[in-house]
């Protein structure tokens, strides 16, 4: 059963098309990273998937059926903004979740609280931003969901906690859980995701396996005698690009795999704007 399938999803806010004909299918046990600029439509797409906003058109199915309240027992969601009640303590949040989710695992929650260094009896208001986010993540993991949707999960976490979060994502995916997470931080996606989707102006402009991208996408550079550097992105057949550049009689031609960041910039066509 495919945990998440999106068919031709559109979401319009007035004149603005936030999500434009998005189709996506995410297999079980996959860590899927959704990358895009601010306002690209990542959060709107996630909100549509979870029924937090109504779709303009298109269909979403979770575990093979349309979203129903009972489906949420199999899904965990951590929003970009921390929406947990700040006047409650982590222990009270745990009790709240335990009563709501049938598979909530207190033992796992205890382990995660230790891993994320969460103080259980202080109200969230007295915790740092990073710790509040860690509480939200630990609660989501402890629901033992089959599908976890994380919207900018690492925002507010310090580098150590970010590392622990990414490790946690990878290890739960190894247990068969499906993770969909959006991020601005391409490095995080590169570290944790097996498959990525790049969303730009509401459209899914690229969907691919991270390993395949590394194998197929190259930067080919030609250096000329006067010191000029000519750089081209090669998608698939880099030999053709090399050939073309050699015809210009450079001093040297080199090829190296693109980083995910370079793939992102080349895909959304913003390399000049970003100095890439």
């Amino acid at each position: 059963m495919i945990p998440l399938r999106i068919d031709h999803l559109c979401k319009r806010y007035g004149d603005r098309l936030a999500v434009d004909d998005l189709s996506l299918s995410i297999e079980r046990g996959t860590v899927f990273g959704l990358i895009g600029r601010n306002g690209a439509g990542k959060s709107s797409a996630i909100a549509c998937v979870l029924g937090l906003i109504r779709t303009t058109s298109g269909e979403v199915s979770l575990f093979g059926e349309p979203l129903q309240p009972k489906t949420f027992d199999r899904i965990a969601y951590v929003p970009e903004i921390n929406c947990l009640d700040a006047w409650m303590t982590p222990l009270q949040h745990i009790e709240f979740r335990r009563r709501c989710f049938s598979r909530f695992d207190r033992t796992l929650m205890g382990e995660l609280m230790e891993r994320f260094e969460i103080e259980p009896t202080r109200t969230l208001r007295k915790l740092s931003k990073g710790q509040r986010q860690a509480v939200a993540l630990a609660l989501a993991f402890s629901q033992r969901p089959e599908l976890m949707i994380l919207d900018e999960p690492a925002s507010g976490l310090d580098p150590v906690l970010q590392r622990r979060l990414l490790d946690a994502i990878v290890s739960i995916a190894a247990d068969g859980m499906t993770v969909v997470f959006s991020s601005h931080q391409i490095g995080h996606v590169e570290q944790a995701a097996e498959r990525i989707g790049i969303i730009d102006k509401g459209r899914l402009v690229l969907e691919a396996d991270v390993d395949q991208l590394r194998e197929k996408r190259f930067i080919v550079e030609a250096v000329f005698e006067d010191g000029r550097l000519l750089r081209e992105y090669a998608n698939g057949d880099a030999a053709d690009v090399e050939e073309r550049l050699r015809a210009l009689a450079p001093v040297a031609v080199s090829r190296r795999p693109m980083t995910l960041e370079q793939v992102f910039f080349s895909t959304i066509g913003a390399s000049k704007e970003y100095g890439g």
């Binding site: 937090l52 906003i53 929406c83 009563r99």
Partner: protein
């Protein structure tokens, strides 16, 4: 959801009853320090009325719960494995129970005030608590809660918007007594204003009522028998809460 609402309510009740009791104690102290003879006289039979007015503030504050819960926290609440309307009803149910406790707390504090004041000066407590009046007052407070919930969900883009319903209803009651075309106009839907219905219901049953007042005159037509206002208040409470729940269920999460 019930657990979280219970936590909120427990905290709020402690504050509210604590503040009310503190205020009563302050009044006892003032009463004692200002004592110049005479005696303190009250009719317990009518005590449910001022208590209801005080508790409307509590109800209006709690009425905002639905509206506020449909803002950012909706991202947590609307992904719970339960029907949205059930979640909304859990909030309303806990608030309803909380309002009863708040009412009982203020009523107890008011009685305690007169008993304590009696330690310092002659206090004349007449009659006994009118339980039918208490029930009517509670329905009135629920109607105020319903209005707050409805305004809160309609204006949910503004946090705590439901609180605006309280001054709105009071102003509406005030303008309902204006003579002329404007007064006539605002009196047309006056039955859905719990303050007008409750105040007039109480006033009409009072022997010294000036029945020439425009609003009293309008409502007198409906006052066929005693207790007419309770069903109207109950209908207002149920209707406003029902609309608020339906709107909550259909709402979309607000974008950040």
């Amino acid at each position: 959801m019930t657990y979280r609402e219970f936590l909120v309510m427990r905290k709020a009740l402690l504050w509210f009853i604590g503040c009310t009791t503190g205020l009563m104690l302050l009044m006892v102290i003032v009463q004692f320090s200002q004592y110049r003879g005479g005696n303190l006289s009250t009719d317990l039979n009518e005590l449910h009325v001022p208590v209801a007015w005080v508790v409307t503030i509590f109800a209006a504050i709690f009425g905002v719960a639905l509206g506020n819960a449909s803002r950012e926290p909706a991202r947590v609440f609307w992904v719970l494995p339960s029907e949205r309307w059930k979640l909304a009803l859990q909030i309303v149910a806990v608030d309803a129970a909380g309002i009863v406790v708040a009412y009982a707390g203020v009523l107890a504090a008011a009685v305690a005030f007169f008993l304590l004041a009696g330690l310092f000066e002659p206090a004349n407590l007449r009659g006994s608590i009118d339980w039918a009046g208490v029930a009517r007052s509670l329905v009135f407070v629920y109607a105020v809660y319903g209005w707050s919930a409805l305004v809160g969900i309609l204006g949910r883009r503004v946090a705590y918007c439901g609180l605006a319903s309280l001054p709105f209803l009071l102003l509406w009651t005030m303008f309902s007594n204006v003579r002329g075309a404007f007064g006539e106009l605002v009196r047309l839907p006056i039955l859905v204003n719990p303050f007008s219905v409750y105040a007039m219901g109480f006033t009409l049953s009072h022997p010294a009522t000036d029945l020439d007042k425009p609003m009293a005159h309008s409502l007198l037509r409906l006052a066929v028998a005693g207790g007419w206002e309770t069903p109207i208040l109950l209908a207002t409470a149920l209707l406003t809460c029902a609309i608020a729940v339906v709107l909550w269920q259909r709402a979309e999460v607000l974008s950040a």
